[in-house]
């Protein structure tokens, strides 16, 4: 299995507070990796280093076999899916437009996008009537699924999920977890998810890391 992402000797501080102190991490293709940590431990920051939203103070980030190039970062981000807690759906866009936005800006043909949209909605068990609705009209679980659809629209090689399931009630969470695993079976890809929930990590992930003392410790 080839290496998708590696962090070497990452040092990072935020407002004079050391967050990472010589952190290392390697992620292999088509695995699901969970990163656990208490709040404030830097889980989200670590994830945002993977798509260049945060630059480390020192150390190297290698992604898809190349050192990260912050000048062409938008190009890279189109290959990385990203979904966050609270979903981050754009309130002024319909469900269809929200999901298709990464495709619209990368100038994919409309026909192709519509086909992909139907496929994705099928995959997460959403009716096609949802396309013209606005995010405020959806339940929390529906919003979460739309967020994931948007993140994987362009079949990203890498999918980053930042507490993407944490705002849901237990029942909805269970349902989404199983759909998530079904998607992974249908379209296997490398996924890194950040969570504070150890059970969730154990249920979903192949590898589990924990942030402790500004470094990563492998639990599984």
């Amino acid at each position: 299995m080839s290496l998708i992402l590696s962090f070497e000797n990452i040092y990072h501080a935020f407002e004079n507070q050391k967050i990472f102190d010589g952190l290392n991490l390697s992620i292999h293709e088509k695995t699901i990796t969970a990163i656990l940590g208490k709040s404030g431990s830097g889980k989200s920051t670590l994830l945002q280093m993977m798509n260049g939203l945060v630059h480390p103070d020192s150390g190297s980030v290698t992604i898809f076999g190349e050192a990260i190039d912050y000048k062409k970062i938008e190009h890279l981000r189109l290959k990385i899916g990203y979904a966050v807690q609270g979903v981050g759906l754009f309130p002024h866009l319909t469900v269809a437009k929200n999901i298709l936005l990464p495709g619209t800006i990368s100038k994919k043909s409309d026909e192709l996008l519509q086909k992909r949209l139907s496929e994705l909605l099928d995959m997460v068990n959403l009716p096609s009537t949802i396309k013209t609705k606005y995010p405020y009209e959806l339940s929390g679980g529906e919003q979460q699924r739309v967020g994931i659809c948007r993140a994987i629209l362009l079949r990203p090689l890498l999918l980053l999920l930042d507490e993407a399931f944490s705002a849901l009630d237990e029942e909805t969470k269970d349902e989404i977890h199983s759909q998530f695993l079904a998607i992974q079976k249908a379209e296997p890809r490398t996924i890194i998810l950040v969570t504070h929930n150890k059970q969730e990590a154990e249920k979903l992930a192949d590898c589990i890391f924990q942030i402790e003392n500004r470094k990563l410790i492998k639990l599984r």
Binding site: G81, Y82, G88, F90, L101
Partner: protein
């Protein structure tokens, strides 16, 4: 895309309205007689086939003269005494030919021969009373020391007022001060016997007064003439010279009274005069009140939309820039805010030395006013977009320009539109003041109405302006309906 075209069409609307052809621009001084004389010149020129643009409401002598010098107007009626004192700053009285020579040599201006009347200070009394006492001239007053004399405060103070007049004529009366507006009523009710007037005041006719002859030529003469640059087209000069010696004092008094007391329009009075003198033949096509309101509303809209469009074109990109470079935003917003604190009439007045009169300085002033609301709402609207959404927009691969276009601007749109809406309503209101510097529009009715104390005329401008403001409010409702999804509307 359609919604952007819709927006663009709205912004470009003023450019699509028809432009005016090159014409003779006639100015007017801001008082009753000034309007009548200018309207006579305008209709005389129109009668000879010229197109005329009326630039009335130019305030006093200085503004009119500056407008003529800066070529914002081509001609306006002026008085010889005023030219000598206020324009040429002459220490002594100038004869008509001296005045002509000085104007030509020093200012490259020409005047027409006198229209035939002298609008100077005069002393006036009731006709029957004067006849009974056999008083015809100011000298005749010497033999009537017991007349009760009440004079305007200005006349009591002026160098060419009572003090020197009574010395020159050795007058024995002891005058008291009276508010000029009340003096006619006081004469009518025999409370006073004599007061000072302008020799062409409409009241002289209305109250049956006579003006005593200035037999020692104490008062400066204020012959009414047309003033124009010497470069004015000679065929135009030939036409306006037809007015020479056509109006005497009594005729001017009658015309003034017709406007002030019979509430006839300037246009009607001027037209009747020109016909009675055979100076124009074809019956003037009376512009109806509705047509006049419509044309002024159109001008008003044009000024407003141009100012607003410019403000949007500048403030929107500037607002985006300030959002990007937040450190600049305080300084710029503060400076633009300072502009807003200048009273609008003062800002308009400040424009005159910089840009002259007319539509350009008015649009500039209105543009400066419209900047702040748009700029502030654009910047705050963009800053107020949920930071999570900004982060996600970056995270899913939108570059800064795409983030602006697909996420930040649409989410800031309610705030931006509210800013433009505020600016539009402010501009429509403030544009009524633009008439003071000759930009036209609905303000002309208001300014003229104020000068003549004519409420009907004021309302003729104020009501359409208010309706315009309401229509614009409704228009923005429609634009919001098109641009903002319902659940994001305020």
């Amino acid at each position: 895309m359609k919604r952007y075209l819709f927006f663009l069409a709205f912004v470009l609307m003023p450019y699509l309205l028809p432009a005016q052809k090159s014409t003779i621009r006639v100015g007017a001084k801001h008082f009753n007689e000034g309007y009548i004389l200018s309207e006579i010149i305008s209709q005389l020129l129109e009668g000879s086939g010229y197109k005329v643009e009326r630039k009335y409401n130019l305030g006093g002598t200085t503004v009119c003269f500056e407008a003529l010098r800066s070529k914002a107007i081509d001609i306006y009626p002026e008085y010889t005494g005023t030219l000598a004192e206020e324009i040429l700053k002459s220490e002594r009285k100038l004869s008509f030919s001296e005045l002509q020579i000085k104007l030509y040599d020093e200012l490259a201006m020409e005047i027409s021969p006198s229209y035939g009347f002298n609008n100077t200070y005069g002393l006036s009394m009731k006709k029957e009373f004067a006849e009974a006492l056999k008083i015809k001239t100011i000298s005749d007053l010497q033999s009537n020391p017991n007349l009760s004399v009440a004079l305007s405060y200005e006349f009591l103070k002026r160098k060419d007022g009572w003090d020197n007049l009574s010395l020159a004529y050795a007058l024995p009366q002891k005058p008291v001060g009276i508010e000029h507006g009340l003096a006619y009523q006081a004469l009518e009710e025999n409370k006073i016997d004599l007061t000072d007037v302008y020799s062409t005041d409409g009241e002289i006719k209305k109250y049956g007064l006579i003006v005593l002859r200035d037999d020692q030529e104490f008062f400066t003469t204020y012959e009414a003439v047309s003033l124009y640059r010497m470069t004015l087209d000679s065929s135009v000069k030939k036409i306006v010279i037809k007015l020479s010696d056509q109006i005497n004092e009594t005729e001017m008094q009658e015309m003034n009274a017709k406007v002030i007391y019979s509430k006839q329009s300037f246009s009607e009075v001027a037209s009747d005069f020109l016909h009675s003198k055979g100076l124009i033949q074809n019956k003037k096509i009376e512009t109806t009140v509705a047509a006049e309101i419509f044309s002024k509303t159109l001008t008003h809209l044009k000024i407003t939309f141009l100012a607003l469009a410019l403000a949007i074109l500048v403030a929107l990109p500037l607002g985006i820039l300030l959002y990007r470079y937040a450190s600049l935003s305080k300084v710029v917003l503060y400076s633009v805010g300072l502009l807003q604190t200048i009273p609008s009439i003062a800002l308009l007045a400040l424009m005159i030395p910089l840009m002259g009169i007319g539509a350009v300085p008015a649009i500039t002033a209105l543009f400066l006013y419209a900047l702040l609301p748009i700029l502030r709402n654009t910047t705050t609207g963009l800053f107020a977009v949920d930071p999570l959404l900004k982060k996600v927009a970056g995270g899913i691969g939108l570059n800064p320009w795409q983030r602006l276009r697909y996420v930040e601007l649409p989410l800031a749109m309610p705030s931006i539109l509210a800013g433009i809406r505020t600016a539009a309503v402010i501009t429509i209101g403030t544009a009524t003041l633009a008439a003071f510097i000759g930009a036209g529009g609905l303000g002309e009715f208001i300014v003229t109405g104020l000068a003549l104390n004519n409420t009907e005329l004021i309302l003729r401008g104020a009501i359409p302006a208010a309706i315009l403001a309401i229509v614009v409010e409704l228009l923005f409702e429609v634009i919001e309906l098109k641009l903002i999804p319902q659940h994001l509307r305020k």
